[in-house]
Symmetry: C2
Subunit: 465 residues, 2 copies
Amino acid sequence: MVLHNILLSFGTGLSSLMAPLPFLATAEAEDSPIILSGVLLTLVVIYLASKLGGEAAQRLDFPPVLGELVAGVIVGVSALHFVVFPEGGMSASDSVIMTFLQSLNQLTPDAVTRIFESQSEVISVLAEIGVIILLFEIGLESDLRQLKEVGIQATVVACVGVAAPFAAGTVGLMTIFHVPAIPAIFAGAALTATSIGITSKVLSELGQLKSKEGQIIVGAAVIDDVLGIIVLAVVASLAKTGEIDVVNVIYLIVSATAFLLGSILLGGIFNKTFVSVVEQLKTRGNIVVPAFIFAFLMAFLGNAIHLEAILGAFAAGLVLDETDARNELDELIKPIADLLVPIFFVTVGARADLGVLNPAVPENRAGLLIASFLIVVAIIGKVITGWAVFGQPGINRWAIGVGMIPRGEVGLVFAGIGSASGVLDKPLEVSIIIMVILTTFLAPPFLRVAFGQTPETATLETGGK
Amino acid sequence: MVLHNILLSFGTGLSSLMAPLPFLATAEAEDSPIILSGVLLTLVVIYLASKLGGEAAQRLDFPPVLGELVAGVIVGVSALHFVVFPEGGMSASDSVIMTFLQSLNQLTPDAVTRIFESQSEVISVLAEIGVIILLFEIGLESDLRQLKEVGIQATVVACVGVAAPFAAGTVGLMTIFHVPAIPAIFAGAALTATSIGITSKVLSELGQLKSKEGQIIVGAAVIDDVLGIIVLAVVASLAKTGEIDVVNVIYLIVSATAFLLGSILLGGIFNKTFVSVVEQLKTRGNIVVPAFIFAFLMAFLGNAIHLEAILGAFAAGLVLDETDARNELDELIKPIADLLVPIFFVTVGARADLGVLNPAVPENRAGLLIASFLIVVAIIGKVITGWAVFGQPGINRWAIGVGMIPRGEVGLVFAGIGSASGVLDKPLEVSIIIMVILTTFLAPPFLRVAFGQTPETATLETGGK
């Protein structure tokens, strides 16, 4: 077996040589250079797509992130099949990159399947690290004092933005489409959570992240995300046992509150420690490495207490924003974000299967009808949140409401769990996916219109560097 | 099955929620948030180790990279078992991080094994991307014109540095230790290749990368790496069939030469294209993303034609060094390198099993004796290369010779292939591993002494940012 592997290794052209692994006795170790090839090629495709899409969007006066999402759709499961993932039911033979590597290295079908899974795993983790870094950067760009000032406004916006679409969606599905109560509640719940990633990236691109509207949106999106996790816990236990797991819900509420408030309070002490540690360091990476130790640790904690990694990264950014090192850190994090964040947005687009929009498939037709209803509820239910803001004369209520529209990945998690547990039938699942895709893609151009920006000012603010 | 997975998912505390994956029907998808947790925690450990080790080394007047390697040994397979890899025969239960995650998430042994393998795969690829970025940066810092000037010197140094230790090692093993011819040739061959990564990083830290000595060392190390790949192809086919696969050897020589020369020649045309593309781009990442598209594409090509990914990245750096964007690119790549390169060095240390140095194990005792011989040959065989340099009066011959000493990962690939194919017995394999570890760890302090630097100048050149 061992010798066979060695022969195979040389048969496939000395491929084992490229591995920095000392021991090559396992088949997995022999795959290693080809996994690296797959990752490198996928990254090249992702970067090309993100730049072509982002630049095209910029020139058409859309936020660049919309272009990255659309370019992701083009290279992904819906069209060119360069960037596909096994979770979507794709196999290695569906992936253009894997097929290319297979013929280049004369791989067996078993080997190419293993390599496809490993390569997809690496790209998935890189995408997750990408969104962690995005939220860390958004935290750094946000102003804790201003966030505190708009805290109550953001909480009101978040609560209205959860309650309104949930109620309207559930009641509408039950009365208009005669959907039974539990699936209707599940679909209603999928309408609740706002995607922080999409919204904050667009705000940053519009140069509106630090505006009062921007800070209310980001604050509300964070609270919304936590509320979304709690709502999911409630409806999932309802779907599973017909009852609500009160202990788990209380645990989530307490841990989320403690985590966000605790990290901000402790941050006041920690940021002095951070600065004094950084001042002691004399080797390269003296600011960026300690900053990422903190960000990744907080992301891990957010993940470990069953919230989200991105919430931890956002809190870490908020804390470090209070330090003297922040300006330097802002500059250092930019190229890192430029390299990792596009992986997130392009793969979000690549995973979105636009096949569900095809009306030729009967299941899709029923789904499209429900989807039209869900989209209307999803948009109106969030847009009205702008009018929930009080005591802020002259504030751009449209912008706040529109900023809460994109559902992003959280809505897809609802659809996935609902479908896998049998609560959602196919048309309802399809309609949720369509709602998520359209709200995600509509929000960036809507937001630009809501902020009433001309192409000139936008180019000035987002252009260059 | 699907429902069972969902129940399991909620049983383990809503872990599936943290996944940005739309469909959670597979066990693999449910692992995803825990894989992310494992990767984040491993990165935190790696960064802490790299900073503690690097800073300690700096204060003790050693190059920081030595501290990173030693810190890697401490957190790795030899000591604390925080960062371990399945290739070294380790299982998930040997990993402190995996054991922690298992108890945190109540994982089954199957799940933790899957997660351990995926997490190790991700960290391995990140380490490989780290060394790719290191060589890209070294290429950017190198001066193509100066490299061309010292090209003949570098070639002579490389050839002497391959021939001398190979001949002395093989003959010595056969005459002194009565090792049969083929294993002796294999072990002799393991003495040939210089680790570009270690050497160039130390040179950069000493501020000597752009010196004439530094450029000769880097040039020779690159040629050495290519020669090492060819030598490995020769001895491996000799070990396999008793004959030399001439076609493969010629293919490697031609493709390596064509790749390096071709990329440099084409580079003269391409770098103008690069600058004009960069000038067109208006969104964020307008320099760094195109640069990495080029670097990763070249790394892929190097890998695909069965050379090494790092050679492609180095060539890409050399080409872009010729462009007007180089100064800006130098600045932008630094934080990226600071974040990814330490993963490479810490994992090199973490993979090095110092257990082979334990004389209580009988196999190690025989190995230690042969190792002492190999280390002497490895050091002398490379140090004499400094005196092969001609027509350069006043050049620091010691520094050049010492700069070629570290064997790094290439030597370990020899040991791994030799052992797996049955050519090397255990003592000989152990002695090669010891030789690689010691030459790698001795080179950084030796190199500092050879360049005769005082702590003051070194701190000035490597300190800050």
